[in-house]
């Protein structure tokens, strides 16, 4: 982890338990994490700050997931998005969000699984940063 700057992660899920269980695990793995249960607040936050990785559910009140995803991508060239969603809505999610999603994870999932995906996403972010510098 010996990076001078921690990677920034945003979690958005309207069920508080998801952030509650994920945030400590990601913090222990050396990331800085901001968690949201309201999409409008998360939306506002991504307009203020650039995140490296965004973990989001899709069933939202108020803001449509597509809109949020587009905003994240628009604000940042390097950000990667991981979609977590219930088993039932997995297929729909995959159909509508093929574009710009790093990976899909079905709930319930193991914390270790998600950490692994985050690590891979981080790797991709790092590569993109390197390319931008060139």
């Amino acid at each position: 982890m010996g990076n001078d700057k921690k990677r920034q992660i945003l979690i958005l899920d309207d069920e508080p338990i998801v952030s509650k269980r994920l945030k400590p695990a990601l913090e222990k793995a050396g990331y800085e994490v901001e968690a949201f249960t309201q999409s409008t607040k998360a939306m506002k936050r991504v307009q203020e700050k650039e995140f490296d990785i965004v973990i989001t559910d899709l069933k939202m009140e108020g803001i449509d997931g597509m809109e949020f995803l587009t905003e994240v991508k628009k604000r940042s060239d390097k950000a990667e998005v991981i979609v977590i969603t219930g088993f039932a809505t997995m297929e729909t999610a995959k159909e509508s969000f093929q574009k710009g999603v790093f990976d899909f994870v079905a709930k319930p999932f193991k914390r270790a699984e998600l950490l692994e995906i985050v690590r891979k996403a981080e790797e991709k972010v790092r590569l993109k940063e390197a390319q931008m510098k060139e």
């Binding site: 338990i17 998801v18 269980r21 400590p24 222990k28 050396g30 319930p108 914390r111 270790a112």
Partner: protein, 857 residues
């Protein structure tokens, strides 16, 4: 599964009697039942797994799982009624009852069972704070799950509170206007002058009588304490409510009312305002426990709230009853004890103790002078201190939070836990945990990401290997239990362990269930634990991130204290509550009276009932005359089993004529393999065997006598087969075995399912037999689920030769356990039997050793 599809292709042209289904239709429905049965048990096991903490799930998952199981169970009832021609429509009523309760739970309206007005301490169910209040719920878990001592007694529940308030029209009075100090005072009076409904009085009296019989004394004196819903968990309510000491039986009802009334004291009211607790949320249960004849009493903090980093527990102790210490009137001896085994006393301060509070003859308490010789004496001896801290840490590990414990030392030198609540040290600990990502730096990682987490959490301690029963006996409290395999045998020491690591094992096995029961951080199937760890080595098991560190990683342990334990989250508790209506198995014995639709209390009960009846109908029908559409034929074997065979396509050699069949005429792959296992030399113990085996067996069992092999039983043994498929139902002696398997070239379709139900021996022996089965199945890579005396083993997706090997093991097991019907004398016998089984299976115990039969055909 695909089996059904394939079966449908084989249609028997059969004569159909009016109103009856053909055998094949019947069997197809039976197959449906079996398939749903498996699916139900799988979903239930999956829900159980989620309690381990490795998964992130939300409420939606709980809702959809409950509905999934519900729909399957409803279909199952429908299928059974096809087979049994609508004989079991009552099951729908049982289903509706359970379904309704689950839906209520999901809607956030916990079901408080009406009429449970008074519950004995030893019967307080887990996670029942809604019913018995926070304080008594904690105590219930300490006594009933952790097995620690408290004083005997009972709790007058929140259901009684509701009934009391309604009976005296007090609710209406409270709802009339917002409570202020003046109206609260009126409520207080109304409660004290109210009358306790007759039903509650009766329940109370019968609990008192039972208690008196139990302790053999009729002149009982009680401590009566509040146990409000939410007290001791989210909000301490410390000191808000009244409590009474040493009250004679005849005062119980008055004390009860006074304690309830104290919920409406001005300070309790103000407290609720501040914490934004609604008046309609108030529910007061009241704990009544026998007075402890306390030599000394005190308080213990498992951590020093002023300096958590010091790794010490703090004990305060005084002579007599603890009330003056708790209320702050008296100061006691002060001990600082290391949290790390062997719990050395690091510092102590023995104060001069001049007076003490003791129970008064005839009721109440009095303050008396401390005898001269005790005034400057420490209240607890050095050897007692260690034991007290060990007990306290068992409680802390379970609740996953530092604890504030009230205890007493009785005249027999036994510690009694009076209450335990979380100690709030959030702020102090948070400052210790600066940057989480650096936690563990400076600690060598011994291994990481090996195996599966069966129960989350952090545990630090010294490694203790368990290789023998002796190792188990000597297990030091607070150590990390390391063993090669998971074993149900280890259950006894699990509560004492800070963590558990095994080389082999399944996160859904019996052991995992026990680890979850006691919330001990557990990683199973690591493959490396016993080879990479040394006995006596200090390690930290991080069963959150799946890492094992060398040394004690203090920050990790502290960090866990700052998190809200997953076990306290709403989702966990909801899952636990709905599982109570889904998973337990109450219908144990088909011969008992409760084995009926109205005896079904859970979805599992219904599933079990349906399965049992479906098999009975299939067999019964077979037994009462040969079906023209599917002739059953007897199979000639060299073991007395009386097996009938129904072929539904390619299971019997086409060239076989009519009449009895020879084993070599069986072409069904799974049946051939299981028969080979069953007739393996020594397993059925009918042929001559070596002396040591014979004597061992006779020391262990009363062999299944030939008188039991009546035609009634013989008719119970039926195999329905095709070339790839087998469904075998066996009733041997008192057990019932069922094996269902499919073996083909397509690896993904292959599976074997083994189900064992014990018979009518006493519970303990049944349990031993279950342990033996579970252990042998786990050794052979089966996924094992144990509920009561039902053992289910599953395995799937092996290639043909792999599946054949497993079928042989099942054959061995069927034959072997048939001999173990009655006399499982002690735990050593179980281990001996397992060893014997393995020797037999390996062909090492034969007089005229025929060597191993090689199954790779």
């Amino acid at each position: 599964m695909g089996v059904l599809e394939r079966l449908k292709k084989t249609i028997f042209p059969g004569r159909q009697r009016s109103g009856e289904v053909t055998f094949l239709e019947l069997f197809k429905t039976f197959q449906n039942i079996l398939e749903k049965n498996n699916k139900i048990l799988e979903v239930i096991a999956g829900m159980g797994d989620k309690l381990g903490g490795e998964y992130v799930f939300d409420k939606q998952y709980i809702i959809s799982s409950c509905r999934e199981v519900g729909e399957l169970v409803r279909d199952l009832i429908y299928d059974l009624n096809i087979i049994a021609q609508k004989k079991y429509l009552d099951l729908y009523d049982a289903f509706e009852r359970i379904h309704h309760d689950i839906e209520e739970e999901l809607a956030g309206r916990p079901v408080i069972s009406e009429g449970s007005y008074v519950i004995p301490l030893e019967e307080i169910p887990r996670d029942s704070s809604d019913m018995v209040g926070g304080k008594m719920a904690n105590l219930g878990e300490i006594v009933n799950i952790l097995g620690l001592a408290s004083s005997p007694g009972f709790v007058i529940t929140t259901a009684a509170f509701k009934a009391f308030m309604e009976y005296n029209n007090i609710w209406d009075r409270i709802r009339e206007q917002p409570l202020d100090e003046k109206s609260a005072e009126e409520i207080y009076r109304l409660i004290c002058d109210g009358s306790v409904p007759g039903e509650i009085q009766n329940d109370l009296q019968s609990c008192v009588d039972r208690l008196a019989d139990k302790v053999g004394r009729y002149n009982l004196f009680f401590a009566v304490r509040s146990s409000a819903r939410g007290e001791d968990s989210l909000h301490s309510f410390a000191g808000q409510f009244k409590s009474y000491l040493n009250e004679p039986v005849q005062n119980l009802t008055q004390c009860y009312k006074e304690v309830v009334a104290s919920g409406y004291s001005p300070s309790a009211l103000a407290y609720r305002r501040e914490k934004e607790i609604g008046e309609d949320e108030v529910a007061m249960a009241v704990g009544c426990q026998l007075m402890v004849q306390a030599e000394a009493s005190g308080v213990l903090y498992t951590m020093d709230p002023t300096a958590p980093a010091r790794e010490i527990a703090v004990i305060e102790a005084i002579w007599g009853l603890g009330a003056p210490l708790v209320s702050g009137e008296a100061a006691g001896d002060h001990y600082l004890v290391s949290r790390i085994p062997p719990h050395e006393v690091e510092a102590f301060n023995v104060r001069l103790k001049t007076s003490m509070l003791i129970p008064k003859e005839g009721g109440g308490t009095e303050t008396v002078p401390v005898p001269e010789e005790l005034r400057t004496c420490p209240c607890i001896a050095a050897e007692h201190i260690r034991r007290l801290v060990e007990l306290a840490l068992v409680i802390e590990r379970y609740f996953k939070k530092p604890q504030d414990i009230e205890w007493a030392l009785d005249r027999d030198g036994q510690f009694v836990i009076l209450q335990s609540r979380p100690l709030n040290i959030q702020a102090q600990v948070a400052s210790l945990v600066c940057d989480l990502s650096t936690v563990g730096e400076g600690h060598r990682i011994i291994f990481r990401d090996k195996g599966s987490i069966a129960q989350r959490g952090i545990g630090a301690g010294t490694v203790w290997f368990i290789r023998s029963d002796e190792d188990m006996e000597n297990f030091p409290a607070g150590a990390i239990l390391v063993s090669k395999r998971t074993s149900p045998r280890l259950a006894r020491v699990v509560p004492k362990a800070s963590g558990i690591l095994t080389d082999v094992g399944s996160p859904t096995g019996h052991m995992a269930t026990i680890a979850r029961e006691f919330r001990v951080p557990t990683i199973v199937n690591t493959g490396v634990a016993t080879s990479l760890l040394e006995p006596g080595q200090e390690i930290t098991v991080d069963a959150e991130q799946n890492v094992v560190y060398e040394g004690r990683v203090k920050e990790l342990c502290y960090y866990e204290f700052t998190e809200e334990p997953f076990e306290e989250s709403d989702e966990y508790r909801l899952l636990l509550r709905v599982l109570k209506k889904i998973a337990p198995l109450n219908l144990v014995n088909p011969h008992e009276r409760n084995f009926a639709p109205e005896g079904c209390k859970t979805y599992h009960d219904i599933t079990r009932f349906v399965h049992e009846k479906a098999v009975a109908h299939l067999i019964h029908r077979e037994y009462h005359g040969k079906e023209p559409d599917a002739p059953a034929r007897r199979l000639k074997l060299n073991i007395p089993i009386g097996l009938l065979l129904i072929d539904i396509g390619g299971g019997i050699d086409a060239a076989a004529g009519s009449g009895d069949l020879q084993p070599e005429q069986v072409t069904s792959v799974p049946l051939r393999a299981i028969l080979e296992g069953m007739t393996h030399p020594g397993m059925w113990s009918t042929e001559p065997m070596s002396v040591d085996l014979g004597s061992f067996m006779s020391s262990l069992t009363r062999t299944f006598s030939s008188q039991l092999a009546t035609p009634k039983y013989l008719g119970q043994n039926l195999a329905v087969v095709s070339q790839q498929y087998m469904n075998l139902s066996l009733r041997l002696g008192y057990h019932f075995n069922m094996v269902d398997a499919y073996i083909s070239e397509n690896i993904n379709d292959n599976y074997a399912y083994f189900r064992f139900l014990g018979g009518v021996t006493e519970l303990l022996r049944r349990e031993r037999r279950v342990r033996l089965l579970a252990e042998i199945l786990e050794q052979n890579d089966f996924r094992v689920d144990v509920t009561g005396d039902l053992v289910v083993g599953r395995i799937k997706k092996l290639d043909v030769s792999g599946m054949i090997e497993k079928m042989k093991v099942l054959g061995h097991l069927v034959a072997f356990t048939r001999q173990l019907d009655v006399q499982m004398i002690d735990d050593d016998k179980v281990n001996g039997a397992i060893a014997m089984f393995n020797k037999l299976a390996a062909g090492n115990l034969l007089p005229e050793s025929k060597g191993r039969s090689n199954g790779q055909r």
